[in-house]
Symmetry: C2
Subunit: 252 residues, 2 copies
């Protein structure tokens, strides 16, 4: 058996000295690798420098920083090897910095927007054009000047990396992850089912940040038919995922 | 001798799952601690979870995440102990997230700004008021929704933590740090001299990111009289700082 695990959290550069990161200790990824590694599984493990890492002779670590590098590494691995399952637990940045403006630059940009708009109220289309212009005007700052009381960071949405997985390898089993904050079970379940459909996932591990701590980690492993199992720790989550994949492979 | 060292890079929370960080491996701080530790110095070492850490019986580690925690920890230490020197090498965030807006929210906010302004061009004062309003309207998002193509992050300037040091302990020797990117020696020198004046620093270690690597680290230790010495590695920088402090204490 050969599987691909992603774990840790991506970082997107703002300039040469700053970045935006998604928090993730990487401990859940380590628990998952350990659960599989115990039974002679070859593991490609994609992670980040700061995350905790699993150890094992059959584990190959691949390091990435941002979503672009993640997409490149996954594309490379998925077109080179055939995986029985892909467990995509990495916390991936939804946004990447597109440009930044000082107060003075924002004032100029808004004045330009107003002049073009002849004082009429700003439609969504006018706003989108204005943003596209700001983005194309963006000079890549090596280090953003701190000589402004407020800084405006315009972030643009990243393409969803999870989409790649079934596109490149339709036969693999895909386990995705959804982390929400302080929501009901119903909200978690709905978001998980939507993610299963959008990403052709076989399972989603849905969890709530308010129920994640160093010693507890409450989560639901939700299957595409809507059935689910529940776990209280990272070790239990790892076991649930391993069992679900083992069973799904047998039934194939 | 008792000294205080700060090292690593601060992170500012955007929401419960994301933050903005200043990069810093913490290796320079470790080199400085090692240079002093070799000669029986008691060291309070303020750093972050992800940074490399020095080891030694006389070293006490203090962990912080953001600039607020850094200011609190420094205030506490500087009002409890008397330090022969404070070496403030931490990469401190200039800005902290104040609020964020989706495209739709920005559209509403801009429309409101326009209506108030009767179609006139936007002055700096009008813009500042608008920003203050947006900031006071900000609801603390637990996790910012990714349901927008662009996200606008408004960051506000942090109070400079380095100001605290001589205010709380005028008699200590202060070594500050300035990191610029791809500038001339003259630009580095000017920024360092300004920092010495603004922060009542005794020395500034000025360096350029383009000359910082794992094995090389070019830097100038600039004294308040404008004299300076030069180093090519982290170890050399650490030695320069130790020598400068030792000499300055003798001449006191």
């Amino acid at each position: 058996m050969r599987i691909l695990i992603t774990a840790g959290g991506t970082s997107e550069k703002i300039d040469d000295v700053r970045s935006i990161s998604n928090h993730s200790s990487g401990r859940l990824g380590v628990a998952i690798a350990n659960a599989f590694n115990a039974e002679v599984t070859t593991i490609d493990y994609v992670t980040t420098k700061n995350a905790q890492k699993p150890e094992g002779d059959l584990i190959t670590l691949h390091f990435i920083n941002d979503t672009k590098e993640l997409a490149d590494t996954l594309t490379n691995l998925l077109t080179t090897h055939s995986y029985d399952a892909v467990i995509h637990s990495m916390a991936v940045s939804d946004f990447t910095p597109a440009t930044s403006l000082s107060e003075e630059q924002l004032q100029t940009a808004l004045t330009g927007l107003l002049a073009k708009n002849n004082g009429e109220s700003i439609s969504a289309a006018v706003l989108k054009n204005w943003l596209a212009e700001l983005e194309s005007d963006a000079h890549q700052d090596k280090k953003i000047s701190s000589d402004t009381d407020h800084l405006f960071l315009i972030l643009k949405k990243n393409p969803k990396v999870i989409h790649l997985i079934k596109k490149l390898q339709p036969e693999t089993l895909l386990v995705g992850f959804k982390l929400l904050v302080d929501v009901s079970f119903n909200a978690l379940f709905d978001v998980a089912m939507k993610s299963i459909q959008k990403n052709s996932a076989d399972f989603i591990l849905a969890n709530d940040l308010t129920e994640v701590g160093p010693n507890e980690h409450h989560g639901y492993l939700i299957a595409k038919d809507g059935s689910y199992t529940e776990a209280a720790t990272k070790k239990e989550i790892a076991q649930l995922i391993k069992q679900a994949i083992t069973t799904a492979r047998k039934n194939k």
